[in-house]
């Protein structure tokens, strides 16, 4: 029968595949028939894979929690400052355009009129240095300012330039001011002097820590400040409360919306939301997880190598016999590597299961929601096989170098 080069090649390829299958089956049989030896061989890699899996799953889960915490701490306020606006303040129509944005829940003015006003209850009292803040209802709502006592904050825009103010709770405590309930300027309010100008205290407010300075401030409407408080205002700011994470985008848009012509000299003062820090923490966590996996993987690899070397020593006669019968060095080495790879695969499967189970129990105890990357089992499994294969290299070389005479002389 004549054969073409192509059919000859195909036949050789079939023979090669047959050889690989036979060697793999031989290796599998060696592992199955010697369970204790197999267990000793896979223990190291299995523990390494389990530790790496559990470590990465717990790190990923912890990462999700860190993400959540960062989200909670991300800036949810936009602050726009105008350097060149007229004393009338921001045009109401443009403010409405800002409020209409989807991520914005409230927006309005919250400017510093005077950062060092001298405030007291009466002339002989020692004055307290305080901020005088110009605000409207939207600005106070955006800053999360709440009325603690006295007239509702919503009335600040209705004061129409009357000498009425709201003061922060810390300032109220220092001055000993307790406003009466009722309409602002109704004649029953406590009085304070701001740089010598008397103002009625309509209410006491509290502010969240992000706007803590308002607790020690005197808050008035722009019309009141213009009419009754000395000075011309130190800055003019709009504050908007936005959905966490949207501050940067809204800040960029707001400068355009509030000042399309670019006449007001607007600046976006929105504080950064810690993305870089978050990214650094995330990369540090992964680096720690990877280093841990590499160290444990190395230990597993050495354990597998040690067990295989002992196995090669124990099987010297058998391997020598195979060599005497005509097995090539490559085939004997391949037999050992196939055993290594199969042991690594077995160790990987058991290790991944063990690792997931461990991580799941840990997360259950900690009441964390388990996060599993879909590719993780594949990557860790491949890592286990690779570690086992690398660990099997030296034993395979040793096995391949066993002389066929060993069988005759033992």
């Amino acid at each position: 029968m004549t054969t073409t080069p192509a059919s000859d090649l195909a036949s050789r390829a079939r023979q090669r595949v047959g050889e690989v299958v036979r060697v793999s089956a031989d290796a599998a049989r060696a592992l199955i028939q010697r369970p204790m030896h197999t267990l000793a061989m896979i223990a190291g890699v299995m523990l390494a894979v389990a530790s790496a899996t559990a470590g990465v799953v717990v790190a990923d889960t912890q990462q999700a929690r860190i993400d959540l915490r960062f989200d909670l701490q991300r800036s949810d306020h936009v602050v726009i400052q105008a350097d060149d606006l007229p004393p009338a303040g921001f045009p109401a129509q443009q403010l409405r355009r800002l409020v209409a944005l989807e991520p914005v829940t409230a927006a309005g003015e919250l400017s510093i009129w005077d950062h060092s006003a001298r405030v007291s209850r009466s002339i002989p009292d020692t004055p307290v240095t305080s901020n005088v803040v110009v605000a409207d209802v939207g600005g106070l709502a955006a800053a999360g300012v709440l009325g603690r006592s006295g007239a509702p904050l919503e009335l600040i825009s209705a004061t129409s330039g009357a000498p009425v103010a709201w003061i922060g709770d810390r300032l109220a405590a220092r001055l000993g001011v307790a406003p009466a309930t009722g309409s602002p300027g109704a004649g029953q309010d406590a009085q304070i002097l701001v740089d010598g100008t008397p103002l009625s205290v309509a209410g006491v407010v509290s502010a969240p820590s992000a706007f803590g300075y308002l607790s020690g401030a005197v808050v008035v409407s722009r019309a009141t400040a213009v009419e009754h408080v000395s000075g011309a205002g130190e800055n003019m700011r709009v504050v908007a409360q936005v959905r966490p994470g949207a501050a940067k985008a809204v800040g960029g848009y707001a400068t355009q919306a509030l000042d399309p012509q670019g006449d007001a000299g607007l600046r976006d003062l929105t504080p950064p939301d810690g993305e870089i820090l978050k990214s650094n923490v995330a990369s540090d966590l992964r680096r720690i997880g990877m280093a841990l996996a590499v160290v444990i993987g190395l230990v597993g690899m050495l354990t597998a190598a040690n067990t295989l070397i002992m196995s090669v020593y124990q099987r010297r006669r058998e391997l020598g016999l195979r060599s005497a019968m005509g097995w090539s060095r490559r085939k004997i080495g391949a037999l050992l590597l196939a055993e290594s790879a199969l042991a690594g695969l077995l160790a990987g499967v058991l290790g991944v299961g063990l690792g997931f189970a461990g991580a799941a129990i840990w997360c259950e105890v900690q009441d964390w929601e388990l996060i599993i990357e879909p590719l993780l089992p594949v990557v860790v499994l491949a890592g286990g096989v690779l570690a086992s294969l690398v660990g099997g290299l030296l034993p395979a070389l040793k096995a391949a170098s066993i002389s066929p005479l060993t069988a005759m002389r033992s």
């Binding site: 049989r29 010697r34 060599s323 005497a324 005509g326 069988a407």
Partner: protein, 229 residues
């Protein structure tokens, strides 16, 4: 039968083949030796312990190379071949039976015999058939699926013979195959080996066993590393 076995003439030709090792001390293991073994012949190599019998057999089996001389197998020079070429030669032409059966304990008798089949073109069914045939020849076909660990010493040695014969080698080298067996079992093994010639193979039998000398066609005595004339 596989391999290029000549129908007549010398299968094994040793000419001035000797072995001297340099480490750990320079030692002469085998004096320069001339020996011819004709195809189909049955040769017993005998001599006292340490005389060099196993060394001579291992050189004939290409398990080690001589330090001098020429070794031709079926007219082909063996000295100077690479390790890979020698492995391929052994795979095609030689069968070995050692003092110990060296079976893989966790494999069945049949699977152990299959280890002797190194022809990659054989498929699974072909391997199984040849292995069972070899086991039938040594009278163990009923124990083909029994684990090697569960066979007696004599049965294990029979499996080893089947493993050596399964590829129908040109030359079978048996090194002290009966020394680990009782007298009766040893006799049965010798009878089996005596039948190697009927399969067309040549037999080189290294032994102390006087009965073996009776079954061999020719006896070569080796003393102090040299063949006694």
């Amino acid at each position: 039968m596989t391999g290029s076995t000549p129908g007549s003439g010398a299968l094994v030709e040793l000419s001035g083949v000797g072995l001297e090792i340099a480490h750990p001390v320079r030692t002469r293991i085998l004096q320069p030796t001339d020996l011819e073994i004709v195809a189909g012949e049955s040769v017993a190599i005998v001599g006292p312990s340490g005389a060099g019998k196993t060394t001579l057999a291992s050189i004939i089996g290409t398990l080690q190379s001589p330090s001098e001389g020429s070794y031709r197998f079926a007219g082909q020079e063996m000295v100077g071949k690479t390790r890979k070429e020698l492995a391929r030669f052994r795979a095609g032409q030689l069968g070995f039976v050692f003092q110990q059966a060296h079976l893989v304990e966790y494999r069945t008798a049949r699977a152990n015999v299959e280890l002797g089949l190194t022809d990659p073109s054989l498929n699974r069914a072909g391997r199984r058939e040849l292995s069972m045939e070899a086991l039938r020849r040594v009278g163990l076909h009923r124990l083909g699926e029994r684990l090697a660990a569960h066979l007696s010493g004599g049965e294990q040695q029979r499996v080893a013979i089947a493993r050596a014969l399964v590829k129908a080698p040109s030359l079978v080298i048996a090194d002290e195959p009966t020394s680990a067996l009782d007298q009766r079992t040893g006799q049965a093994i010798l009878e089996l080996l005596a039948g190697v010639g009927t399969l067309g193979a040549t037999l080189v039998l290294v032994t102390h066993d006087e009965r073996a000398m009776g079954t061999a066609g020719r006896v070569v005595t080796i003393v102090d590393g040299g063949i006694r004339p």
